[in-house]
Amino acid sequence: EKVLRFAHDNKADMLENPAHAFTGVFKNIVEAASNGEIRVEIYPSNQLGSAKEHIQMVRDGQIQGTLSSTGALAGYYPRIGVLDVPFAFNSNASTYEVLDGSFGKALAADIDASLGDVKVLGFPDTGGFFSVTNSKRAINTLEDFKGIRIRTMTLPTHQKIIQSLGGEAYPLAWGEVYSSLQTGVIDGQMNPIPTVTFAKFDEVQEYLTLTNHLFAPYTLMLNKAFYDGLTDEERKIIHFAAQSGIVAGRGLSRVIEASERGLEGLKKTMKVNALSATERERFREATQPVVIEDIRQVQDGKGVELLDLFLNETQQANDKLYLN
């Protein structure tokens, strides 16, 4: 019997968050298809540590698998920063297309090569596009951003995006975000919809704008030695279980967005608006060239190569029509 200990940073409810939806489906398929030869033990809710620690534990082999956020992975693999291009995707479908396609393959291969001790199996959904919430005003035009103080993660590109839009970006620790929004230390924040509902930001924020400016997937990784130690048959199981889990996580993300726990519910407590096509184009023009330039500055040759592939692939995916 082989034990695959798998850690992630979200709650232990399959219907509550995409991470556990992935993990639950993955575990079910692996255990059933291997007829119990591989046992999957799940450690949700950061029980074993932070997302960054999970990566280190996978690399060192104390656990065998994790889903890591781009923020956590950036410390080990700075080239993940190429995903920070704002307004790169125009739909969820393009994110699937790009992350499952040749860019996803190239990225996974490069992470494997750079780290040397992990095997990347795919890029599950963390909950969808980033939106912006705030307590000042509905953001319909670029000008509406002026003077709004937005909390961002401590990622320079995230700060740059808000600043290019005309807002002010202040990094705050996650633990202080809710109360800071509540008391007005800051006016707004940016995160995917499930995070907004999960953290109950709707209680302390009035406006939700579906800017869809960023998409940050999880990176699904296993310990390389563990992966290499599997039989060919077992490896096949792991791969198709991963694929199904990724589909399930994406499905749940869309379901959450559409349900009471997503937009449907948020519409009752917040004023929700989407950007018009022309306005979205202005947002893109204001941010994308600046951020791309920044990314080019900090990335090495291989990173720039990945960036160009990413831009090219997103372009194609954005133009593509389903079954067409």
Binding site: Y43, Q62, A173, G175, E176, S179, Q182, T183
Partner: protein
């Protein structure tokens, strides 16, 4: 089981709590997979402390140190005496009231116990109180400090469990005042029978105002902290740094008795006081990792929820567990190890996170006074030279009163949550 035994033995032979937790955790890691697993320990220590809101703790300590340096503690005691000193058992009552005033500049029960153990206990003994009784009163009042904001324990709880620290601060005000009232009632009830002295003259209005003015700057501190947080000017962590700025202003501009050298010494002592706690938190993270890896927390949680599905019974079990473990365990270590197990249970039974938080914090604070391991008892015993057992005996009525209060607050969320709701939490 072996690991738990190792921990208990290490604690009994007097190993520092942090070292005991760390070694037991290391032994646990080693038993899973040898040095390969034990090598996780340094990262656990680092990441157990790599939490921004933890900063609030040293800053609140520093603010308290500076305020103390300015001599504000004795002003607060004088003001309390002017208020309630003329009753029978006047100094005992003053001790309680002074704890309430003092709470605004301290985040820790042991700070209160140490300061009053050195000043008020000798004063009480001189007036004819028995030493154990004087110590018991001081111990009972000492937990008002970490209940009324600021509170180091609330900072740790809030940052670990994702609960609003400002909200916890607001929730603590009422329970803190109630502890004072309950203890004063107990003092009053036994005052005649214990023949407590009644020494002071009733203060005139003019004297009262004079003492009030002398204490005003200290009394403003909690208002500045909570006001800064509630009004949205600062985050709780930043509020702590503002409290330091306020204390510095008072020390250097108002009282003018703060030198750079003294400030530098206080910066060092603040770091040392924090280091004692942080070592325990870091080591508890090692031990906690071993527990999590073996999925022991889930086992305990499942066990409790299998005993009953009645929310009231589950709440009682949680409180009971905290109090029992609190008899032998350090409260910060308990927070790291038990909160992730028990807080999800409170969610399951539908408790408001602020309500659950304050019950948690109160139960831990009460365990600072329960023998054999109770930090406040240790402090008082070491400061006054009184035997721990004799203090504990005199403490009983207060302990029972506080436990009844804890139960009352646990089962009346509408009372407990009144102030936070009023402030918009």
């Amino acid at each position: 089981m072996t690991i738990a035994l190792i921990l208990v033995v290490l604690l009994i032979i007097g190993t520092p709590v942090g070292v005991a937790l760390g070694l037991a955790g290391l032994a646990g890691m080693f038993s899973i997979g040898g040095l390969h697993f034990a090598s996780l320990a340094p990262a656990k220590v680092f990441n157990g402390l790599n939490i921004f809101p933890f900063l609030a703790m040293p800053f609140f300590i520093l603010a308290g140190e500076i305020m103390n340096h300015t001599g504000i503690t004795s002003r607060l005691v004088q003001f309390s005496q002017a208020l309630v000193g003329h009753f029978r058992g006047g100094l005992a009552h003053s001790n309680m009231v002074a704890s309430v005033f003092f709470s605004g500049i301290t985040g820790a029960a042991t700070a209160d116990a140490a300061a009053f153990g050195r000043t008020l206990v000798p004063a009480m003994v001189e007036q004819g109180y028995s030493r154990p009784y004087a110590c018991a009163v001081t111990a009972a009042g000492s937990i008002i400090g970490p209940t009324i904001p600021p509170s180091g324990l609330m900072v740790v709880y809030g940052s670990l469990m994702g609960v609003s620290i400002g909200g916890l601060f607001a929730t603590g005000i009422l329970p803190g005042l109630l502890i004072c009232l309950v203890c004063m009632a107990i003092i009053a009830v036994f005052a005649k029978r214990k023949n407590l002295p009644k020494a002071a003259q009733r203060a005139s209005l003019r004297q009262l105002l004079g003492h009030f003015k002398g204490s005003l700057l200290a009394l403003l501190m909690p208002l500045i902290i909570l006001g800064g947080i509630v009004s949205g000017i600062v985050t709780p962590t930043e509020a702590a740094s503002v409290a330091v700025a306020y204390a510095l202003f008072i020390g250097s501009v108002v009282y003018r008795n703060l030198s750079f050298a003294a400030l530098f010494r206080m910066l060092i002592s603040t770091a040392q006081i924090s280091a004692v706690i942080y070592l325990i938190i870091g080591a508890a993270s090692i031990f906690g990792w071993w527990l999590s890896f073996n999925q022991i927390p889930q086992f305990i949680a499942t066990f409790i929820s299998q005993l009953s599905d009645n929310p009231n019974v589950i709440l009682l079990l949680i409180i009971g567990l905290l109090l029992v473990v609190g008899m032998i365990m350090d409260i910060n270590a308990m927070l790291i190890i038990l909160a992730p197990v028990l807080v999800p249970l409170t969610e399951q039974i539908g408790m408001d996170p602020l309500h659950a938080g304050i019950i948690f914090v109160l139960a831990l604070n009460i365990s600072l006074m329960t023998p054999p391991v109770g930090a406040c008892l240790f402090v008082l015993s070491s400061v006054t030279g009184e035997k721990l057992e004799r203090i504990s005996a005199e403490l009983m009525p207060f302990l029972i009163g506080q436990l009844i209060l804890l139960m009352f607050l646990a089962f009346t969320p509408e009372v407990t949550l009144f102030i936070p709701r009023l402030l918009g939490y």
